[in-house]
Amino acid sequence: MNAIEFDKVTLTYGGRRVLSDVSFSIPQGAFVGLLGANGAGKTTMLRAILGLIKPAGGAISVLGKAPTRGNAAIGYMPQARRALGDVGISGLDFVLSAAGGHRWGWPVASAAEKEAAWKALEEVGAGDLARRPLGELSGGERQRILIAQSLIGNPQLLLLDEPLISLDAGHQRAIIDLVHEIGERLGIAVLFCSHEINPLLRAVDRVLYLGKGKAAIGSVDEVISGPVLSKLYGTHINVVRVAGRIFVMADDVELESRAHVHDL
């Protein structure tokens, strides 16, 4: 069974067509980097997989079923929108808020929910961070807590939206290795959204690259090439490989790093 299947899917966001007639499939257990410029539709694609928006055309299948909101089989880490620096909540309580957070009542965690939260925290090696308030954690430590939260509910598929944002190179590597290792240990597919291909090179099985409403999927060498990316960007693209790093250039301007700076 495939973790995700898109069959001629068209997605719109705010009346704008973000993806049109896109088909691909991601097998269970694969580690896939989801790439593309700002506004290419990465987050929109994740929201469609989560069942939060309906495709304007085509069919999506997630773990063999149509997407439904509240699908506990999907672990999701949204893009961090708010600095959690001033939040006086411990890592444990933060992870726990996702356990049974849809039920009404006062947030008293059951023994089973506490066990699930500790298990998720141990999974990311953050057991020792659990009692500390989020505001006291470093960026890399906080990302681990967020990943632990996405693991609540024993997901069969992980969707991570820009987990590398505002991390330095060392912490980026640590997060990618951690997610890669978790995906392999649990045998689940991971869709890892990022601006940059280079940090992902060490871990991804394949990349899904979005642009101009189209998508290309395949190995890094198949997708990150001049002809493929020229189609996705709608302009002439050169791909230069230097010392194990990949530079995506349009008219001598490096696209990916510029997108990254722009977003920060």
Binding site: L50, G51, L52, R69, G70, A72, I74, Y76, M77, P78, Q79, R81, R82, L84, D86, V87, G88, I89, S90, D93, F94, S97, A98, G100, G101, H102, R103, W104, G105, W106, P107, R131, R132, P133, E136, L137, S138, E141, Q149, S150
Partner: protein, 269 residues
Amino acid sequence: MSTIFDYEFMRNAFYACTIVGIVSGAVGYFLVLRGQTFAGHALSHVGFPGATGAGLIGLSPFLGLTVFTVAAGIGIGLLGERAHRDVAIGIVLTLSLGLGLLFLHFYTAFASQATNVLFGNVLGISLRTVIVLAVLAVAILVALVLIARPLLFASLQPELAEARGVPITLVSTLFMVLVAVATSEAVQIVGVLLVFALMVAPAATALRLTSGVGAGVLTSIALAVVIAWISLTLAFLTDWPTSFWITALGAAAYVVSGLVRRPSGAPEA
């Protein structure tokens, strides 16, 4: 000191401060956690023409105030992120104060009350008002307990909560209604302009000192109540306005908590 409880108005003031302190501390904790402190401020301003307008047509200012704040609370809850617009908020707030001023202009007999509405008059609270405050407080606290779990989830991770099936617009709108009623209660103590002092200062202080929700809410409540009690006592001793003391002690608590911080380990690089 031994005579402070001999006066009925002082006893009523202590009852009112206790009730409103509990409500403001509890609701304020979630307000600060959600990063929506502007709402407490905005709702009270919108309530001002409600209070003065009700006075103009012979109704209870408290009723007018509450109707306006609740209506505005529902509006903010339904608008969600779109309500976070500096200029629009600023214009709505000044328009509200302007309208309130206009109503005062037409109803000059009520004008002497203006200062009370703007800055509070805890020493003028009747036993009947205390009972109304208590009934509303129980309703707010019961409702808060019922929505606390999805509210906490939606406050910390709105997109994940949405994906997990939490009705986030409903939850945030219900919470805004609670904030609106709590604001109307706080206005009775500190007035329209100083609601921040009771709703936000104790809660923000508590969020700095605690790392759990239960402890945070209780600390926030304790701070709000103790600040209000000390302020009443100081007002009794000094004859300075209670509202001044509440703002001063709230600010002091917040500043001191920034120096003390949480008791757990130091931040790592």
